[in-house]
Structures are given as C-alpha cells and as structure tokens.
Amino acid sequence: MKYFRKKRLGTALTVNFCIFLFIYGSKSLEVSWVEVFKRFANAADRFIIDYLPVDFSEFSRQSEQLINTVFLSIAGSATGVILGLLSALMISVKTSPNRFVKTIIRTTASICRNIPEGIWAIILLLCFWFGNFLAYLVMSIISYGFLTRVFADTIDETNSDAIEALEATGAGYWQIIIHGVLPETMPALISWSLYSIENNIRSATIVGMLAGGGIGYLMNIYKGFAQFPLMMSAILMVTILIIITDRVSTVIRRRIMS
C-alpha cells in the first residue's frame, strides 16, 4: 500500500531528524553524556552534603517573607487586572473606540508581555533599586501584559448580540460595557485574574532574587552566604505554596466556569 509506505517513511524521517538534532546539539554544547552518567553519583553526593539536612531554623522569617510574596503577587495581579481590563476594552475589535489608541496600547502590552520578568527586574533595577516596590512593579508589568492579551481575546469572543441590543435601546458606550460586555465575560475575567496570581507566585522567586522582596530575596541572601540547608527549606516552602495556590485557584475557577 502506497499510502502506508509513505506514512512510514515520514515517521522514520522525523525520528531520524530528532536523533540528529539531539546528537548535534550535545556536540555543539560539548556535553559529554558519558561523563554525566559517570559523575551522577558524585552530583547526588554533593546535593546531599550541601543541602541536607534541611534547616528550618529561620521558619518564622521565611513564612513572613512567604506571606509578603503572596501579597506582592496579588497586588501585582490587581494592578494588572485594572489596567489590563481598560486596555483590553481599548484594543478589542468589539469595543475599541479608536484605531490609533488601539495600536499604541497593543504595542505597549505586547512589550510588557514579551520581555520576561527576569529581564524587567534587571532593566528596572537601575531606576528603582532593590526592594518590594520593584518586585511589585515587575509583577504588575507582566500581569498587565498577559491580562491585556487574554482579556481582549475574551471580549473578542463574546457574543455581539447583547451589545447590538443595548446599542439599539440608546445605551451609551460605557453602559454597554458595564451592562453587556462585563456580565457576559465575568467568569472568564475572574478565571484569568486568578491564573495571573498563580503565575505571579510561580515567578515570585526569580523576581524576588533579581528585584528584591519576598521569599526570593531571602533565597538570594542564602545563596550569597552559601547557606544551602536554609535555601532548601525556602525552596520547599515556595513549592508547597505554589502547589496550594494552583489547587485552590483550579477549584475556584472550575466552580466559576460551571
């Protein structure tokens, strides 16, 4: 059968191509897989010696910073929600009042979104210096970029029927937004906002390390003083926090959407 022979040939080519990429990549990065396996025991040893036993002696200080991280993440998202919603209204095809405004805001949001949080922290470090405010600012920027995009998509996807009906009754622009667009999109908007908080908490460590503030800031100090057992306890706490927020927000989102 010609069809199946063609299909087999395609699969074989794809697999070979992937193997080629792997080998070529390892070669060019000078990764020696033999060495990696040979020294694996060594690496595990180092891990055990350096990180264990986990040191919980700074638990109260760490939990304080962990709570700080949560607040920073929520504050960043809240700022992102408010500015993102306004921006989304300005750029959605359904609600955009003006093409010029649309282009400007779309570009701004796109820049905010496409520069990773680590880079934002480094760029803004020069202007605002280390600390909670900078961490908050970075999280606001990435939340804003992300939420503007998904909010605009959500509004694009709403049914325009209700918008048409409200327009026909003589309602004004903001009335149509408040009474038509927002109620229709509310579950999705809330769901995305929660997702953004989740995302912020996930990136809080790296933002904290680079920008200061929260548990990431503490981890940076531990790293500087080579206090790895303390670092390990902080990592464990962050991981647990991320898992909890992930679960909670998934449950809430599922409930809102149904």
């Binding site: 209700a162 009906a165 327009e167 009754t169 003589g170 309602a171 004004g172 408040i178 009474h179 109620p183």
Partner: protein, 256 residues
C-alpha cells in the same frame, strides 16, 4: 403624509463596502397602530432595512423620517434619542444571559440614566415597578429574578419584548422574532406583538419568514426582493402568484 405617520422611508439605498447592494429605492410609510410585515427571501435586505431605521446601519442614500425627524442627518445625541423611542426585538433575543430577567428588561431604560447611575444599579423605583408589571403582563411573573440563560426560547423572547416595551417606544422593530421558536411559542409571541399594536397603538414593523403568519396578523405586507419593494398591500391582495414573484419560486415549493 398624515399626522398618523410615524415612519417615512424615502428612496433608501444601501450599498455595503464590499459592493453588495442590499437596498435600492425603498420607500414606504408606517402609520400609528399599524402592524406591517416585511417578507422576502434570505438576503433580500429585510434585516438591513430594519437596521437602517434606527441607524444601526447607515443608509447610503435617501432618508428616513421618524416622527418627522431625519434619521440619516441625526447627530450622535439625536440618534440616541431616536433609539430610545424605538424598541427592537431580535431573532436570537440578544439578552445578557448571565443577568436575570428584570435586569435585562431594565436595560431598555439605560438611555435615560447616566453611566454612573446605571453602573450602580440606581434604577428608580418607578422603572423597577414598571419592569415587573410588564413581565407580569407577559406571563413571566414567576421568572422575574431568574437568570436568562435558564429561560426557554419563548420566555427569552418575551423578556426581549419586555425590554422593548419598557422604553415606552413610539414604534417597535422586530427582526425575525419567531424564526428560532417552535410553533406554539411562535404563536404566543405573535399574539403578544399583535396585542401590543392593538392595545397601545404602537406600530410594529416585523420581518418574517413565514408568509402565512404574515398574512394572518398584518394590516399590511411589504414584499422585498433583491433589496427592492415588489409588493405592498393588504394580506388579501397577496396572491400565490405574488408570493412566487417575491420568493422567485412557485409557491408550492415554499413551506408556509
């Protein structure tokens, strides 16, 4: 033109940007208390015609006068005033389904409130009472606080009618009001629309697909074909020949 004339459409053309000519040289009047149906095949321009009347779509040529006021020359503020006086009912009901029936009805009054007032839900007690009264009148007294997504098609359309009625409209436009409903619900909706015209004297301009329905309820029927009026007269004057002329096929090929 008499004092009775609510709507005067004069030589209206509509050419869409893509070059499609949706309406050409359409002229007719609608008087107070009149129930007028517009029939015609899909794409004959019925929806476009209706939407030109409240400027949801801009007519390309000609003019429309609503209670003596030019619709095409109206500025933004005047358009809002015109829209406040025209109720509109849609095929797909066009409700905000996550809100309840009462809130949807009150949307008909948004034009009379400031943005801040309406955002805070500061509807006057009078309007709320009136909304509830209209819902009662339309047999929805048990559904006042029901979220609209939980209503049946016929009930949704009644909420749509209530939203139009609370405007205190001088005219009602209906775009295929029964095209998405089962026969029984269709009958209920047509009866309500007919009663509204008879009881309150509010003229209704209704786009319809069902020729028989148009015949049994209308005072006058307008037949549209390729954007032109090819028939205008009493239901009795709508012969089988005329129907096939409007639809471009013999009337045996149509389900009435």
């Amino acid at each position: 033109m008499t004092e009775q004339t609510v709507l005067r459409v004069e030589n209206v053309d509509k050419i869409y940007k893509n070059g499609v000519k949706a309406l050409s040289g359409v002229s007719f009047n609608v008087d107070n208390g009149e129930f007028v149906s517009v029939i015609g095949p899909s794409g004959s321009g019925k929806s476009t015609l209706l939407r030109c009347i409240n400027r949801m779509i801009d007519a390309s040529k000609g003019d429309i006068y609503f209670i003596g006021q030019s619709v095409n020359k109206a500025d933004k503020h005047q358009i809002k005033e015109i829209r406040k006086n025209i109720g509109m009912i849609f095929q797909h009901y066009n409700l905000v389904y996550r809100l309840n029936a009462l809130e949807n009805v009150l949307h008909g009054k948004l034009g009379s409130y400031s943005t801040v007032q309406s955002a805070l839900g500061l509807y006057t007690a009078k309007d709320v009472e009136k909304a509830i009264e209209i819902l009662h009148m339309l047999g929805l007294e048990e559904r006042v606080y029901e979220q609209c997504s939980n209503l049946s098609g016929g009930q949704k359309q009644r909420v749509g009618i209530a939203r139009a009625l609370i405007q205190g409209p001088k005219m009602i436009l209906c775009d295929e009001p029964i095209a998405s409903l089962d026969p029984q619900a269709s009958k209920v909706i047509m009866e309500y629309l007919y009663d509204i015209t008879r009881t309150f004297g509010i003229p209704c301009l209704v786009n319809l697909h069902q020729v028989e329905v148009a015949k049994s309820y209308s005072d006058r029927i307008i037949g549209l074909r390729n954007g032109e009026i090819v028939f205008s007269g009493k239901p009795g004057e709508l012969t089988a020949d005329m129907i096939s002329h409007i639809y471009g096929v013999s009337s045996e090929e149509l389900i009435s």
